[in-house]
């Protein structure tokens, strides 16, 4: 893997992987230092974003008033992700995606007329037109996430009529004809780009406030991965959402009443565990998913410092997971298969959760390098650039020179003793990953790599020069890094605005992640600051000066 230009991510700090890509000059690792003083907050531009498969499924569920089974989306091409998050602009319109979408909507369309959320009236005349118009007046703005434009209702009513006429003589009754007309118009609405793409038109020049509907949409997708709910929609219709206090109140309402959705859409993507959500209900993978959701959900709901996700001091276990980990209450403490809260420092931290530990391993082995890279990328927002072509040759040679019976630590040490080109990057990855070697591919603890207990697991290592011997000490070091807070803020910007933070977003990141009364901010603090910030509520043409 290589890129001609090293992409070093993160507006505030940058890992300087010297010589790692062969393109940056010096070879000494540089200390990571924040830049000062805090710069101004700059407005962002806005680009159209296609709903991901998950967002589309949730939109349909919300419109029709029942959960659309994920099975209807089997065979769909997986959505592309942008820096790990949903919402890639303009993807998902290929021929196959179109065929899949049409097939799924066709499979749903029969059930539409059974949904009380859609069917708000009964036809009173043979044509059913008055009732159909009422249904569309309510349904379509929610589908398009904005009020109807001139003539839009008339056009859609005409489409209803077409469907109604087409069914004449093909279905038994006028009522069936009414249903058929609705199916045609609603299916075409569900397949329309107005629903599938989120657009926030840029002003002709300068900047503008988002309107209340755009703001509601941003807030809803950011916090729940789904379109606005009824209460938020009402606040958009009345315009009240444009008042900062109302906006804040809705954000907090969503955070505390739909905590699981927030955890799933934000942290589930940031830390990858959302991909385990669809695992079979009684599987280990699904237990991992539940553990992550519950632990992070409590951190959100109890307004603990967001950085406490590194070492919260508790976890949630069900009997199967307690047995798997070999920790937690004795089996008689469980009265059911439900998850129980359990105070411990051995488990619960994001780097001690089975989800993250298994997702950063292959089926057969752990990789300190891979785990260390994951920590840098997801917790500290440091991108380790991939090696350049000349390094690939060196990597091949170094790999070949490592004896077959070398220990994991010896292998990892070989990366860093193979010269500055390798050490430039590996010094940022391997030491962190070594600290997690005490957890195997499925998150179980281990003292030895083999059953015969001959190959001992060595976890003593260092984080950016500070030595540690156990994962618990590593957690303490990580939690003390301001990077955890700034990284969460940065990822919120990526998720909420669909854009990479640029160098001039420093001001925003600083403002979001600043301490509260000397403590690290909670998720409520982070969310409140973000959604009330000007970049969340206003957009500007690129290059416009605020």
């Amino acid at each position: 893997m290589r890129l001609p230009v090293p992409h070093v991510l993160g507006p505030i700090w940058v890992v300087v992987c010297t010589a790692c890509n062969g393109l940056i000059g010096d070879t000494e690792p540089r200390p990571l230092e924040p830049l000062a003083p805090p710069p101004p907050i700059i407005l962002k531009s806005s680009a159209p974003r296609t709903l991901s498969n998950t967002e589309y499924r949730k939109s349909l569920s919300s419109l029709l008033g029942y959960d659309i089974p994920a099975s209807l989306f089997e065979g769909w091409t997986p959505s592309l992700t942008f820096s790990g998050f949903d919402g890639v602009l303009w993807s998902g319109f290929s021929g196959k995606a179109t065929q899949d979408r049409i097939a799924t909507v066709e499979a749903l369309i029969d059930g539409v007329v059974a949904s009380p959320r859609v069917m708000i009236c009964e036809p009173e005349e043979a044509s059913g037109q008055a009732c159909a118009t009422r249904i569309l007046e309510r349904f379509v703005p929610r589908a398009f996430r904005r009020p109807l434009q001139a003539n839009e209702l008339a056009e859609l009513t005409a489409l209803y009529r077409d469907g109604f006429m087409l069914a004449e003589g093909k279905v038994p009754s006028a009522r069936d004809q009414f249903h058929e007309g609705l199916r045609v118009v609603i299916a075409s609405v569900l397949l329309s780009p107005q629903l599938m793409v989120r657009v926030e038109p840029l002003p002709a020049e300068g900047e503008r406030d988002l309107d209340a509907y755009e703001l509601a949409t941003r807030l809803a997708f950011f916090m729940t991965g789904a379109p606005p709910d009824d209460e938020l929609w009402l606040a958009a219709e009345t315009g009240a959402l444009l008042e900062v206090d109302v906006l804040r109140a809705h954000a907090m309402r969503l955070l505390f009443t739909r905590t699981a959705d927030f955890v799933d859409t934000f942290m589930g993507q940031l830390f990858d565990f959302r991909q385990l959500a669809t695992a079979p209900a009684d599987s280990l993978k699904h237990d991992f998913y539940r553990e992550s959701s519950l632990v992070l959900g409590e951190i959100v709901a109890a307004e603990l410092p967001a950085s406490s996700l590194v070492a919260p001091g508790f976890t949630y276990l069900n009997p199967a997971l307690a047995t798997h980990y070999g920790v937690g209450p004795p089996s008689y403490a469980f009265t059911s298969d439900d998850f129980l809260r359990f105070e411990t420092n051995e488990r619960g931290g994001i780097l001690q959760q089975g989800s993250v530990l298994s997702l950063t391993s292959t089926e057969t082995k752990t990789s300190p390098t891979r785990r260390g890279r994951w920590v840098q990328g997801r917790l500290l927002c440091k991108t380790i650039p991939p090696p350049g072509p000349e390094l690939l040759e060196q990597i091949t040679a170094v790999s070949a020179s490592i004896p077959a019976d070398a220990t994991v630590k010896q292998r990892v040490d070989a990366h860093r003793s193979a010269g500055p080109a390798c050490a430039g990057c590996h010094q940022y990855m391997d030491p962190i990953g070594l600290g997690l070697e005490t957890f195997d591919m499925l998150g179980k603890t281990r003292a030895y790599y083999d059953q015969a207990a001959t190959r001992i697991v060595e976890t003593a290592s260092e984080l950016l020069g500070t030595p540690f011997t156990t994962f618990a000490e590593l957690n303490v070091l990580l939690a003390a890094m301001p990077d955890v807070n700034t990284c969460l803020a940065e990822k919120m910007v990526v998720h909420g605005l669909g854009q990479m933070p640029a160098a001039d977003d420093e001001g925003l990141i600083f403002a979001l992640s600043a301490p509260v009364d000397g403590h690290d901010p909670s998720f409520a603090d982070l969310v409140e600051r973000f959604v009330t910030s000007t970049p969340f509520r206003r957009i500007a043409r690129p290059g416009a000066t605020p």
Partner: protein, 436 residues
């Protein structure tokens, strides 16, 4: 005043229009002498190269990875190209895949401003333009990478490794990976239009699609001009579905009898089954253009039994495994050629197979594995076509675009310039055509 649409007719008379028979569905005429010799095309691809140390020929020879071609008696139908390079614009996994059949550069994200994917219309899509068929093109493959790492994903679209077929420069085509989905598309779901209810449902579906196209036109009008192009893809996708509906109403010339391969290896059986369906679709002229990606452009999954391992990792580290994987994939390709030959389709068809790099350890883009197969006198089949110069030196390699310019001629298409930037065609014959 605009022309009446199908819907207008419905409003007036309540009957469906009967559309003209598509030419491809008319009885096939005997080929006249003036017609181009080739009418069908299949572009095939595998990622991460072969055991070719530093871009030398290595194991990529009839005695090595290409042995399955010899085993099936097809050596005389294949030209092995030497000394051609892939597009190495960004990471060659990305650009060498996306540009494999367009030879264009790939677009990248710059700073915080994002543009969607950008590469070029691929060769297979030009061939799909030549003759309307029920199905515009069949694009199948194994694997799909949803994202790679921040370093790549923030600079270049992951879609580049997932598609060799591009409808136009902004719209990559996703592969069908499920044989059942492909089967249903080609042969239908077993229902017939003789059933009046099914006929009604087809009409209803067309009304729905008409409604979507209305919404689309309105949506497009509100977009900035540089964004409108993305909606073109959606419109063409819907038009393709409409075309399939229209063909479904005609006497169905395709019978759903493609064989399902029962190889114990799921990878092999999946791809063989999809290859069978493509051959059947060609036989009944439901499509004339196809692509097969034997693996996405990285090769991130295990091919063959678990003991064989991941293609990408094997290309980096274990060439014994890589050789096995290469043989499996070349074997699939040779099976496909044999089927086309048995169906008397090989003469009308050009089939290519190539990769995005040669030596996967160093991601070398010189002397990539590349073959062209067909039957007949137009191509220099049964031999190696070697570009002059040091084949292992990308600077001395020929551009793949020159091959495509030559292949266009076999379809009666005069396209003297193909590709762009330093990957553009040079105007010099590639050597793949007989007599050049």
């Amino acid at each position: 005043m605009r022309n009446p649409t199908r819907r207008d007719v419905l409003r007036w008379g309540g009957v469906a229009l009967s559309l003209p028979l598509l030419p491809s569905l008319a009885p096939r005429r005997a080929a006249a002498a003036a017609l181009p010799s080739k009418t069908r095309f299949v572009g095939c691809f595998f990622p991460s190269g072969a055991a070719m140390p530093d871009g030398t020929h290595g194991d990529w020879a009839l005695t090595g990875a290409l042995a399955p071609i010899v085993d099936r008696g097809l050596a005389g139908n294949v030209a092995v190209l030497r000394g051609f390079r892939s597009v190495e614009d960004v990471d060659v996994h990305w650009s060498g895949t996306a540009a494999f059949m367009s030879c264009n550069r790939v677009g990248r994200y710059t700073g915080s401003s994002l543009v969607g994917e950008r590469c070029g219309k691929s060769f297979d899509q030009y061939i799909a333009d030549l003759q309307p068929t029920k199905l515009r093109s069949l694009n199948v493959g194994w694997g799909h990478v949803p994202g790679w790492d921040e370093g790549h994903d923030s600079v270049i679209s992951i879609q580049y490794v997932n598609s060799i077929a591009w409808r136009d420069e902004r719209n990559p085509i996703s592969n069908t990976r499920d044989p059942m989905q492909l089967f249903t598309r080609v042969f239908g779901d077993g229902t017939t239009v003789a059933d009046p209810h099914i006929a009604y449902l087809l009409d209803r579906k067309e009304s729905i699609l008409d409604g979507v196209l209305d919404q689309l036109a309105r949506f497009r009008a509100g977009l900035p001009s540089d964004e409108i192009v993305k909606m073109d893809a959606y419109e063409s996708g819907i038009r393709d579905v409409e075309r399939e509906l229209t063909a479904q109403r005609q006497a169905n010339t395709c019978n759903g009898d493609a064989t399902v391969d029962n190889d114990v290896e799921i990878y092999v059986s999946t791809l063989k089954t999809m290859q069978n369906i493509i051959v059947r679709a060609f036989e009944c002229d439901a499509a004339r253009s196809a692509t097969i990606m034997y693996h996405e452009g990285i090769g991130d999954t295990t091919i063959g039994t678990a003991t064989i391992g991941k293609q990408h990792e094997a290309a980096h580290g274990d060439w014994n495994i890589l050789r096995q994987i290469n043989r499996i994939q070349v074997g699939l390709w040779a099976d496909f050629l044999a089927q086309l030959k048995a169906s008397s389709l090989l003469e009308q068809t050009v089939v290519t197979l190539g990769s995005n790099m040669s030596d996967g350890r160093t991601h070398r883009n010189a002397n990539i594995p590349m073959m062209v197969a067909s039957a007949g006198p137009e191509l220099r089949l049964g031999q190696e076509v070697v570009a002059p110069g040091d084949v292992t030196n990308p600077a001395q390699n020929r551009n793949l675009a020159d091959v495509y310019v030559d292949l266009f001629k076999l379809y009666g298409v005069n396209k003297p310039v193909f590709g762009e930037d330093q990957w553009k065609s040079t105007g010099v014959p590639s050597g793949v055509l007989a007599g050049t």
